[in-house]
Every structure is written in C-alpha cells, then in structure tokens.
Amino acid sequence: MSDEPLLRVSNLTKYYGSRLGCADVNFELYPGEVLAIVGESGSGKTTLLNTLSANLEPTSGEALYRMRDESWRNIYELSEAERRFLTRTDWGFVHQNPADGLRMTVSAGANVGERLMAVGDRHYGKIRDTALDWLGRVEVAADRIDDQPRSFSGGMRQRLQIARNLVTGPRLVFMDEPTGGLDVSVQARLLDLLRQLVGELGLSAIVVTHDLAVARLLSHRMMVMKGGHVIEAGLTDRVLDDPREPYTQLLVSSILQV
C-alpha cells in the first residue's frame, strides 16, 4: 500500500433543507483500500456515497482527491468539465440497479466501449477487443457482445456494469449495494468476482452495503452510520468481532445464522 492517501475527507456534511443527510464525516482512503459503509435504511450512507462521488454538493466540508498528476484538488471546486472527466475515467460508480449505470438499449459491447471513447479511444477494432476481454473477465459469454443488456439476467447486467466501470482503469470505485437485489447464488459469484478484481487491480473502493457479510468479505475497514453520523469505525474484523457501540452490537447480533 502506498503511503499517501488517494482521498481526504474532512467535516463533510449534507443537509436536505433542514433535514440531515450526513454530518461531520472524516476519513482518509489509501490506494488499494476498500472501505465499507454500513447502516440501516435512512442512516445516511447513500447520501454520503453520493456526496463523495460528487453527485451531490455538500452543505459544508471538503473532499480532497489526489489527481493522476499528483495535485490535490477539492472535488467540489472542480469545473464541470474536470469533474465529468474524473467521473468518466479515474472513478467508477456501480449502482445497485444496473439499469441506472448502463444504457439498456445499446449493445453490451457499446456499453463497455463508450467509456473507452470518453477517454479518447477511436480505433473500433481495438475498442471491440478490449470490450471482449472485459466481458470475459466478468464472465459474460463473448457471443453476447452485440446483445442489449435488456436481454440479460440481473446478475449478468450487474457484471456488465462492473466491466463498464473498470475498463478505463479507474483508481477509485464507488459501489452502492452492489449485490442487493440478486439471488444468493448470483451474489456469491459477483462477490467473488469483485474481490478478485479489486485485489488484482489494486483499486480503492467505497462500498455501501447493509449486508455485514459483504463488508466482511470485501472491505479492509468499515464505518457504521446511524442517524447521519459515523458512530463507529475501524478495521473490519475488529468492528464485526468486537462491536463497541450499542447500535453496532445490535446490527452484528441481528445476523441470522444459517
């Protein structure tokens, strides 16, 4: 792991009018690190993710990101064009519902190729080869490259969304309940794939999930949110094996044993 963080978040706060989304969030994320944000519905974890990924403007606070040229920039002070470039190349965002992250009426190959074209790739043959390679890596059969994701199963769509995000070699990927809404067997396959890809590519990732097993499998560190505040944070297995806060103890003790 590198000694310099990729992201430095300080006092990040988001209000919707007078209603609190999330408040006073502070953390650093290092290259290769996976951070899980857990908490129940309404705890502010999705608000935090959307703010961190610059989809929402914070009410106060800042998020400094180390750009590829090593300069530190507050992501909320980037120009619209700079921000778009960042979100299309150096960042990925995996939505819970693949339809939110894919273009459902263009082919699978084009879904992957589109991100490459955004970074200036123009050679059709090369784009198609890269798309094919990525479909293989996420275990989508090569003969489905010209099909639209509308004809894909939920698990395939989610894997395609992951390929679309990773094809540009991002350094930071945001994931919102990446396995939510999938069958358990499909979830297991996706989790294993994510775990492998994150490890191989040395990605940093911020994963929002309400599933503590997902957090255990994917993340190094976790933050527990309740009522918009981070109430407990630390090494993932420390938080799960020795939860301190009443709410974290409740979460951990609520897991059903199979």
């Binding site: 294993d192 190094h220 630390g234 090494l235 094996d241 301190r244 409740l250």
Partner: protein, 233 residues
C-alpha cells in the same frame, strides 16, 4: 530475541443489549515470547484464552495495555495501531491460524491456501505448487484440491485452514486450536509443522486443548487464570 511482548492487556466487554452490563475478561496480561519459542495459553474454558489471542491479532480492541511486535527493526504496538498499520503487521509480521475456515464462495481449496502467498507477490503457479505441497503433507486427497472447501468435513476444512496459515513465513504465528478436529495421524503432521516453524525461528502463541499435543509443542505454559480481573463486576 523477543518477537512478541504483551504488556498489561485488559479487556472488559460491555453488553449494551443486556442492559449495559460489564463483563471483565482479563487484566494485567503480561508475557514475552522469543523467536523459536512456542507458548501455550492454559486455563479452563471461559478464562479468556481466545480473547487474548484475538487482542494480540487485533480482532478485539483492548481497554489498556500493549501488544509489541518486532517489525522493521522496531517494536510496533498493534493494540493502539491504526487499521492500515494493523494490516501491514498482519501481512509481514503476524499470522493467525483460526479454528474455523471462513469459506469464500467458488474459490478452490488450492487457491484458498495459495492466496496468502499470491497477495504477498509470489507468482501464482509457484504459490499453487507450494499450496499443493502443504495439502499433500496434511493428507488432503488431491481430488479435493480443485473444489471450494464449503462442503468439506470439519477435519478437511481445518487442514485447509492450517495449510493456509502455515504457508507464509510470519515471524509471529497465533494458533487457535489447530488440531481440534483432526485424527491422530494428522495431529502428528501438525506437531511436526510446529516443530519446523520453531527451527525457523518463528515465535508461536497457541491454544491447545489436546494434552498430548500441548505436551509436545509447548516450551512454556502461561496460565490465564492468573489474569482474572480482581474486581468483581
């Protein structure tokens, strides 16, 4: 040379879901382990042996005290280290052989064992070759190697776990009942593997309920009942 130095560790659980009652587990836990030495924690169930092991590995937080581990020519306190430092120590300095295998869906037994080497930069084929050696030594039939261990028997899973824990060269190794569900032949294999780690200068801290195994591997026994909290809850 002291490889692991535990100083005045204390642990109390606060059960917020049970009216906030406090359960003091241990206090003043203090011992040293030298390179090439195997120290076994002794005492009845519930005395806090597993809790001590988990504090030393950082799975449990501590209420006080230090866990000093030699790393890069310095002594680093794992108990107060930030998560990144704990992960670095776990990568380079301290390993853990747990009692139960946490299976990962779809990953074969061979890759489960090879993984710790792969993440430390060993070439995948070389890592798999060494994983195969470990599994052979532990008498896990080769036809099982390509299967995910989720459906294995308790003893088979434990051997996969032992192979995974012993394949790396951590200077400090924690052993949480690694022989609990093994037959006599495989217990003997594990005893041999522990002896080999000693010769390689590895400092080990373990829990062994099997008296024969304990007698064979232990250089010293630290009686955990001596760390019982003096003040009742």
């Amino acid at each position: 040379m002291t490889a692991l130095s535990v100083r005045n560790l204390a642990k109390t659980f606060t059960m917020h879901l049970r009216g906030g009652i406090s359960l003091p587990v241990v206090e003043n836990v203090t011992f040293d382990i030298n390179a090439g030495e195997c120290v076994v924690l002794g005492g009845p169930s519930g005395a806090g042996k597993s809790s001590i092991l988990k504090m030393v590995y950082g799975n449990y937080g501590v209420d006080g005290g230090e866990v000093l581990i030699a790393h890069d020519g310095r002594q680093v306190d794992l108990a107060s280290a930030d998560p990144r430092t704990v992960l670095t120590l776990r990568r380079d300095a301290i390993g853990y052989v747990s009692q139960f295998l946490r299976t990962v869906p779809r990953v074969s037994a061979l890759d489960v064992v090879a993984e710790p080497l792969v993440v430390r930069g060993t070439d995948k084929e070389e890592a798999q070759r060494r994983a195969g050696e470990m599994l052979s030594r532990l008498n896990l039939p080769e036809r099982l190697w390509s299967l995910p261990p989720a459906t294995f028997s308790g003893g088979e899973q434990q051997r996969v776990n032992i192979a995974r824990g012993f394949i790396t060269h951590h200077p400090v190794l924690l052993l949480d009942e690694p022989t609990a569900s093994l037959d006599a032949a495989n217990r003997a294999v594990v005893v041999g593997m522990i002896a080999q780690k000693k010769r390689e200068g590895v400092a080990m801290l373990g829990i062994f309920h099997d008296e024969d195994v304990r007698a064979e591997v232990a250089d010293r026994i630290v009686d955990v009942t001596g760390f019982a909290p003096k003040v009742a809850a």
